[in-house]
């Protein structure tokens, strides 16, 4: 599914860079209050943060079937944006699309730093998404009390059961492909805290600046914020992930700073 996206991008790259960002660009996501799951919420928040950092206007549309409408992707398939005739799903394709418009943040980085940054983005996306999927679908209590009821809420009864089943199967397959299927919760915590260590180390390389790469935000700031903030603010029966992240004070204050600057939800307590 990404092929066509990619080819779309390649074939229309010249045309795209000339065209301005469409005013009616819309971001599609599931219903935030009732339906959205932790991994989806994190990726949606990351994309929203990125677009806000780029200062691009966009509307948000909540659809019950957003996941099914999406052209597909490597992980949650969400969110997807529609800009003119183009539809792109997930963080990386959306970032690639925005970069063709010359409005992207992160262009201040030199090529080496940029490739390093891209690998950080990929690490953050993989580790946190997998950890969120793991806790949502492999932890029996979280699955029964949160994931299944939320996922099934938009469907009438027998259908909700079948949708839960297929959603869980997909999630387990994803975990298997990323080689997370045979881990136990301690391994997951270890992976997450290693990733947090890496991020905190990166953040402390420039201790006086608010962002990962100095004074200006880049993709890494958006995706790290999306995942960390979602993990910290989502209440689950098992808060192991949040407790792990909370140990990294710099990351927590980084989240608070980004939230204050771009979203003002202020739901992250001290």
């Amino acid at each position: 599914m990404q092929t066509s996206q990619y080819l779309n991008q390649m074939h229309t790259a010249d045309k795209l860079s000339e065209e301005p960002w469409p005013e009616d660009a819309t971001l599609y996501q599931p219903f935030e209050a009732e339906q959205i799951l932790l991994p989806e919420n994190a990726s949606c928040l990351a994309v929203k943060a990125y677009l806000k950092m780029c200062n691009l206007p966009f509307g948000i549309r909540s659809c019950a079937n957003a996941e099914h409408m999406s052209p597909g992707g490597r992980m949650t398939k969400l969110p997807f944006i529609r800009a003119g005739a183009f539809i792109f799903a997930e963080f990386e394709p959306i970032v690639n699309f925005v970069e063709q418009k010359d409005m992207a943040i992160g262009s201040f980085l030199d090529e080496d730093a940029k490739s390093d940054m891209r690998t950080y983005v990929s690490l953050v996306e993989n580790i946190f998404t997998m950890a969120e999927l793991y806790i949502s679908f492999k932890n029996e209590r979280v699955y029964k009390e949160v994931t299944a009821p939320r996922n099934g809420i938009v469907f009438p009864w027998p259908l909700s059961m079948m949708q839960n089943y297929s959603k869980r199967n997909n999630a387990l397959r994803l975990l298997k492909v990323y080689q997370w299927n045979d881990l136990d919760i301690d391994d997951v915590i270890e992976k997450v805290s290693k990733c947090c260590e890496t991020l905190e180390y990166k953040l402390r390389e420039s201790p006086d600046t608010p962002f990962f790469y100095g004074e200006m935000p880049c993709e890494l700031d958006a995706i790290a914020f999306g995942h960390l903030f979602s993990i910290l603010t989502t209440r689950l029966p098992n808060m192991a992930l949040a407790q792990t992240v909370q140990k990294f004070k710099h990351l927590v204050s980084f989240c608070r700073f980004i939230d204050e600057k771009y979203f003002q939800t202020r739901c992250l307590q001290d």
Binding site: M1, H68, P71, P158
Partner: protein, 440 residues
């Protein structure tokens, strides 16, 4: 069902004057069938009081047994009744049936709009001894759209509503429909309960009342699909009642020479589930015989789909597609309807009519047997979507040749010339191939 038989003035004996009384009726060959299921076969026989009636009733009983769907073949033996309690002029009638084997299977190929498919069927007739049957039907096609249907049905011909021919069926199905023109497909998974019966209050009508409960999953067939179609993606639960009534007095299903067919299907969806709409379609066909084997045929079809109070979005897979060999010849399938971002999408209402002049093939007399399967026709089609006036309607005319397929379906090869069209329509000027049951 009884008719007065034509009397042959040349016959030596008037059979109706020979008295006869049926003393006994035997039905043989009942291995798995319960006795009470065939009891009514004898009803008419005991009423017969002369030999001719008895013969006719015996034949009626034979065809009745056939209809019960338990026998492969039935033979009738008539004998003088013997024994202690035999009456003079008494006869004993033995109906000897040969029951179906426990399992019957069949396989075959089908050709649809643009794909071939392999169909297999496995039937277990007369499971419980009163005509109840189970069948499993599967089809596998080249485009990986697999259909499966498990059906249980039970006729109630043996009850006192025999004349109404009531029948009940329950089926579980999985079915995939591809809407290539709008680049989406639906996968339906669900069950269906069907009650059907005839009524003969003045006119003979076939009624069918169905309840369907199914999951309809809309998915996309390619990547560049407009958001208006994308909006419909994902599974939904439909719960609907469907009522259809058919009046048919034509003399043949495929190439009728006289008679009228009227058919109406009404759906109400929204008894639970999260799809709601009402939809009605009506189809009519009038055949008028002319001279020299020519037949004039007028067809018309109308469809209307409406929101109900609960509707949030009308399901895309229930919209009507106008155009194609079965409706508006000279247009591609679904090519004469509204368009969203260049992709045709179904319409909420549509109508189309057709006028045909059917002729036998020239030199039909030479190949009599074969020629009865072929006809030639000239046609003129008109139709439109989302509008009932004739200002911007579509129309096409042409001629072609049609073949009868197994007394049910028709294959047409037509040369079509579209006359009136819209800019967004997809026309097909030239030869068009069509296969189906119900044409306009």
């Amino acid at each position: 069902m009884s008719q007065t038989p034509p009397k042959d003035p040349n016959s030596k004996y008037d059979l109706s004057k020979i008295g006869a009384r049926v003393d006994r009726v035997n039905v043989n060959g009942l291995l798995r069938t319960h006795n009470d299921y065939v009891l009514r076969a004898a009803d008419g026989l005991f009423k017969a009081d002369n030999f001719q009636d008895m013969m006719i009733e015996a034949m009626a009983a034979k065809s009745y047994l056939h209809e019960l769907g338990i026998f492969k073949d039935v033979s009738v033996h008539i004998d003088i009744s013997r024994g202690a309690d035999a009456t003079p002029q008494g006869y004993e009638i033995t109906l000897k049936g040969n029951e179906y084997s426990r399992i019957m299977g069949s396989a075959g190929t089908e050709i649809g709009q643009n794909e071939g498919s392999l169909r297999t069927e496995l039937t277990i007739p007369n499971v419980l001894g009163r005509g109840e049957s189970i069948s499993l039907q599967g089809s596998y096609s080249s485009t990986r759209a697999n259909d499966l249907q498990l059906k249980f049905w039970k006729p109630f011909f043996h009850t006192r509503f025999r004349e109404n021919r009531p029948e009940m069926s329950f089926s579980v199905f999985r079915q995939t429909d591809r809407y290539d023109i709008s680049s989406f497909q639906t996968t339906n998974l669900g069950y269906l309960v069907d009650l059907s019966a005839h009524t003969m209050l003045g006119v003979d009508l076939t009624h069918s009342l169905q309840y369907e409960n199914s999951i309809r999953d809309v998915s996309l067939l390619n990547k560049s699909v407009p958001i208006a179609i994308r909006d419909h993606c994902g599974p939904k639960l439909a719960s609907l009642l469907r009522y259809s009534v058919i009046f048919d007095n034509r003399d043949s299903n495929v190439f009728p020479t006289k008679g009228v067919l009227l058919k109406s299907v009404n759906e109400y969806c929204g008894l639970g589930g999260n799809i709601s709409y009402t939809s009605s379609t009506a189809h009519g066909e009038v055949n008028v015989p002319l001279f020299a084997g020519l037949v004039a045929q007028f067809c018309g079809r109308v469809g209307v789909m409406k929101e109900t109070k609960k509707t949030t979005i009308l399901p895309i897979n229930n919209l009507f597609y106008c155009g194609g060999p079965l409706t508006l010849r000279g247009f591609k399938y679904g090519g004469a309807g509204p368009v969203v971002d260049g992709t045709p999408i179904g319409a909420q209402t549509f109508w189309c009519t057709g006028a045909h002049l059917w002729t036998p093939l020239p030199f039909a007399g030479v190949f009599k047997g074969l020629a009865s399967h072929f006809r030639m026709h000239f046609f003129y089609n008109m139709g439109n979507s989302n509008s009932f006036n004739t200002d911007n309607m579509r129309s096409a005319y042409g001629m072609g040749i049609a073949v009868k397929l197994a007394e049910r379906a028709r294959i047409e090869l037509n040369y079509c010339v579209p006359v009136r069209r819209q800019n967004t329509d997809k026309v097909l000027n030239g030869f068009q191939f069509g296969i189906g049951y119900e044409f306009v």
